[in-house]
């Protein structure tokens, strides 16, 4: 157990962490992530980039659904807006990636305000249905605004260069994703310890009390929509850079559900939980594949022929198991482990 530890200044109370151990591990983890591409192969690097994109998306969704308590099934829509904005500006208009990528976030954020306004008086299931409808509208717009989006033909996203480096290749893309992931997590952590993050959680826990405390619900709900979708839009832009060809099939409804699954598995409302959940669900299909392959032929062919079905089942099973046995999610598991560790050998 940690003892003999005293804080002497208020500044230490508002710090992200006062523990040298935590900072040490964080620096070590970032260093490991920087060295990683030189150790692993191309396939693993692609998986890592996907996981980082999932982390960004999950941290973004967590602002809206976890912290502010507004359930959104429109994630696929916001991802699509970010991906298409980035892709169109980059490939069709030839803008540099440092403009097109933030523009993707911005457009997603602005559209989310349009979605947010009619949703202001809605909560829970009703909001979920509204945002779901929005994702369908986006799908249709993409399909029928052919002049802009190339409709059903899909869009090739190429030409993301900076300083002569092709940002869509393995290592540069990985570092871009890593940098944005760190920025996103840091930004989300900082927001959560200022009046903005607290206003969001106040809205989630008791909106009338939040109003009486001086929180303007309209403003803060729309801000949550904007900030969350901005981040998700950036994730969408990164996704388009990674897969290089996008069409509406990439942004199917299942993506919105996966996004919700990630933050529920991680532990709603927790940034660390969103990160853990995203990593967990990103590598789950890989773990399943390895699991099937260890059994040799009949099972591994079974996996390759039913890959989507098996994945779907696995997501479902994992979510049910978590909700039943560990409703706090992965972050709950982590807290329990930490408590056990710091109190050992005493039970509590």
């Amino acid at each position: 157990m940690r003892t003999g530890h005293f804080k002497e200044r208020t500044g230490q109370l508002v710090a992200l962490s006062d523990s040298k151990v935590v900072w040490g591990w964080t620096v070590a983890a970032i260093a490991a992530l920087i060295v990683l591409p030189f150790v692993i192969g191309n396939y693993q690097l692609t998986l890592m980039v996907s996981a980082l994109i999932a982390v960004i998306g999950a941290v973004g969704l967590n602002m809206l659904t976890g912290t502010t308590g507004l359930i959104s099934l429109g994630q696929a829509g916001f991802l699509a807006v970010g991906a298409y904005t980035n892709g169109i500006l980059l490939a069709d208009y030839g803008l540099p990636v440092w403009i097109s990528l933030p523009a993707g976030g911005l457009v997603a954020g602005l559209i989310s305000i349009v979605v947010g306004i009619p949703s202001l008086r809605l909560k829970g299931l009703y909001l979920a249905i509204t945002t779901l409808a929005f994702a369908f509208i986006i799908n249709h717009v993409i399909l029928y605004a052919e002049g802009l989006t190339h409709g059903p033909n899909g869009l090739f996203v190429t030409g993301a260069k900076m300083f002569g480096i092709d940002l869509q290749k393995g290592k540069p893309l990985y570092y871009l994703a890593l940098g944005l992931t760190i920025l996103t997590i840091l930004g989300a952590l900082n927001l959560s310890r200022t009046r903005i993050g607290r206003a969001w959680m106040a809205i989630r826990d008791h909106d009338i009390a939040a109003r009486v405390m001086g929180v303007d619900l309209v403003r803060y709900k729309l801000l949550a929509f904007f900030m969350s979708s901005f981040v998700v839009g950036i994730a969408g832009g990164l996704l388009s850079l990674q897969i290089r060809f996008i069409n509406i099939d990439v942004f199917a409804l299942i993506l919105s559900i996966e996004a919700l699954a990630i933050i529920i598995l991680g532990g709603l409302g927790s940034i660390a939980g969103a990160v853990l959940g995203a990593i967990f669900l990103s590598f789950l299909p890989e773990a399943i594949r390895l699991f099937f392959e260890t059994f040799g032929d009949p099972q591994s062919t079974l996996y390759t022929s039913y890959v989507y079905e098996i994945r779907g089942i696995a997501y479902g099973v994992v979510i049910v198991l978590f909700l039943r046995f560990k409703p706090d999610g992965l972050i709950g598991v982590w807290r329990d482990a930490r408590k056990y560790w710091s109190n050992w050998p005493l039970a509590y």
Partner: protein, 258 residues
């Protein structure tokens, strides 16, 4: 001198039900003012009207001479009106410190961008807010609960957190809705002591709705009694206790033997 808070013939109807009918009252600066009445008399509705959770059907509510009737709910905290709720309305998934910090909301100015980077002013502002919250924690004697999740605390402790959150607004007028209901004797005495301290040391005006006659009679400067949405009496605690209309409202009329 204008009163700090003035209700001028305020009426609130819910459909056909008249919850509050032509109530006028004046709360003076520095007073402990109690609003009492039997269950369903409309006390909490009066509170919801003052804190702009509901709008009056007719009449005006003036705070420092300013009409509150058309202000949005969130603007009231900025004017210096804070309240607690009859049934707990804490942010139960958050720590005590974060609950109190929400009360500081109107005193903070950080914009989203500087908040995301936690630079300069955002950081200084957080430190200042935290210092203020630590003072309130000390005042309410909840130092040991500081980092607890509010949902895990006992009822009395949660009520204390709610009081702390209201104090973080640094209000001129504090509205307490049945603060001591469900508390044991010791907790009730603590709360009574806090209220007196707030009045004596900070000159805060306290307006409370209360069922606990002990605390009302002990610490109030002025008592107002409502029944069926109408004001039936007001005056010093001693006068109220002896007022036949009040006794009738609480106990009913004596049946005259045939």
């Amino acid at each position: 001198m204008t009163a700090l808070l003035e209700l001028d013939t305020v009426t609130k109807r819910f459909g056909g039900l008249v919850a509050v009918s032509d109530v006028s009252l004046k709360v003076e600066q520095g007073q402990i003012y109690s609003l009492i009445g039997p269950n369903g008399a409309g006390k909490t509705t009066v509170f919801n009207l003052i804190s702009a959770v509901f709008r009056p059907s007719s009449g005006r509510i003036l705070f420092e001479g300013r009409d509150l009737t058309h202000l949005p709910t969130y603007a009231l905290a900025g004017l210096g009106i804070a309240r607690t709720f009859q049934n707990l309305a804490v942010f139960k998934h958050e720590t005590v410190v974060n609950n109190l910090l929400v009360g500081m909301h109107t005193h903070l100015r950080t914009d989203p961008l500087s908040a995301a980077f936690f630079w300069g002013r955002a950081r200084r502002e957080e430190i200042r807010a935290r210092e203020r919250v630590e003072e309130i924690i000390e005042f309410l004697e909840i130092e040991d609960l500081r980092d607890h999740t509010v949902g895990t605390l006992s009822y009395g402790q949660q009520k204390r957190v709610e009081l702390g959150r209201a104090l973080a607004i640094s209000p001129k007028l504090l509205l307490l809705d049945e603060m001591v209901s469900g508390m044991n004797q010791e907790e009730r005495e603590d709360i009574a002591r806090f209220i007196l301290d707030l009045k004596d040391e900070l000159g805060m005006t306290v307006f409370m709705v209360e069922h606990d006659m002990g605390i009302v009679m002990d610490i109030s400067d002025h008592v107002c009694v409502v029944n069926h949405g109408r004001k039936i009496a007001e005056g010093a605690p001693g006068e109220i206790a002896a007022n036949p209309a009040v006794i009738e409202a609480y106990l009913g009329t004596k049946r005259v033997a045939a």
